[in-house]
């Protein structure tokens, strides 16, 4: 963990000693601990600009620090993530969020919070699956002399022969054939095979 900035900037005269106390809040309810090397800020964070009602909750707490408990503020902060239900908050926590946002249950159907929740749950899956599909396509292009027929067969198996025929006649099929026929792909396919084959032959002929 490293701290990017400490505000306010501390200036001490020679020999002067000063002790400060800081309150910290977790912005991510689903994370057990901060990751090593992750930048932390003691006061300013981009989350207050991106996540609705977060700044208002902190402002309310800083304006009336004696009125609210730190634990209630923490629950209010986690509520802005969208994973906590309004009914699950204690009355003091609801009062804090309502005082900050100006209305009850402000996170409900808020598109920014909904998008944040969706991205948190589905973002890694979408990214992984699309990357996997692209790499699997690359395996086909590199691994077979006629990748379009393999894709056509898979389409026939998944969606029926009409879909396969539409693909074979379509532009995507021509694009796949074009990529498979590129010199760089042929070089990767045959050149790498030949280079590794020569290397293996050279190593084994020395051993035998």
């Amino acid at each position: 963990m490293r701290y990017l900035e400490v505000t306010p900037a501390l200036k001490l005269a020679p020999g002067e000693r000063r002790a400060d106390e800081f309150e910290s809040f977790s912005l991510d309810n689903g994370r057990a601990a901060p990751r090593a090397g992750e930048p932390h800020t003691l006061s300013r964070t981009r989350a207050t600009d991106l996540r609705p009602y977060l700044r208002e909750i902190f402002d309310e707490y800083m304006t009336h620090p004696s009125r609210w408990r730190q634990g209630d503020v923490q629950q209010g902060v986690w509520y802005t993530e969208g994973h906590k239900r309004w009914a699950s908050l204690a009355p003091d926590q609801q009062a804090l969020v309502q005082a900050a946002a100006g209305k009850a249950d402000p996170a409900r159907w808020n598109p920014v919070i909904v998008l944040g929740r969706m991205a948190g749950a589905f973002g890694p899956i979408v990214l992984t699956n699309l990357t996997l599909a692209v790499l699997a396509l690359l395996v086909i292009v590199v691994g077979t002399p006629d990748p379009a027929s393999v894709i056509g067969q898979s389409l026939a198996w998944i969606g029926g022969p009409r879909l396969a025929q539409a693909f074979i006649r379509g532009r995507f099929s021509r694009g796949v054939r074009f990529v498979a026929g590129l010199g760089i792909v042929a070089l990767l396919r045959d050149g790498l095979e030949e280079a590794v084959s020569r290397f293996v032959s050279a190593v084994m002929s020395r051993r035998v």
Binding site: P111, P124, L132, A133, A136
Partner: protein, 176 residues
């Protein structure tokens, strides 16, 4: 609500739509990837080194990308070690069995198909659990890491083994 908030609302609504399309596309993509890998990975005919290398890179990079995602932070801290260990093990098994009798006419490797199926099953199961809200799935993540490392290692090891067998005649390797 000021202009900035309104813009944020509109952009988020558009973002929800785009992400929704991405979710549908990714669900279709994983099915096609599964079929393509099952069709290609077990076949050993022709130039295989480049294809097997691409398959190994695909398995390792997709697993790495998935396990590095924020929801899995701290869920499986030893996943890199598991991947490397299973990669070495997966490479060693075909390398150590290089003298074993092999049917030269065999073009379909059922074991490779099984490895692809196991790896993708772990991936899809883990994704289903993640959608259900369970990011703390340590054992499953280790199984995913281990299966991907094994697949990558075995993929490279078997291709290398075949190349060695073709380049050097080994005593007692002939099939009956």
């Amino acid at each position: 609500m000021d202009f900035r908030d309104s813009l944020q609302y509109v952009m988020s609504s558009v973002g929800i739509g785009i992400l929704g399309i991405g979710i549908v596309l990714s669900a279709a993509a994983v099915v096609f990837a599964f079929v393509w890998l099952l069709a290609i990975a077990p076949r050993m005919r022709g130039a295989t080194i480049a294809a097997r290398l691409t398959l190994a890179l695909a398995a390792l990079s997709v697993t790495g990308l998935y396990l590095r995602a924020a929801p899995f932070s701290g869920a499986a801290p030893w996943w890199k070690i598991v991947i490397v260990a299973s990669l070495v093990l997966g490479f060693s098994v075909p390398a150590l069995r290089i003298d074993a009798p092999v049917d030269p006419g065999r073009v379909y490797h059922r074991g490779m198909a099984l490895m692809v199926a196991v790896w993708m099953s772990f991936l899809v199961l883990s994704q289903a659990l993640l959608v259900a809200g369970d990011a703390r799935q340590g054992v499953l993540l280790y199984l995913l890491a281990g299966s991907s490392g094994w697949l990558a290692g075995f993929s490279l090891g078997s291709a290398m083994g075949r190349m060695v067998r073709e380049s050097v005649p080994v005593r007692g390797r002939e099939t009956a």
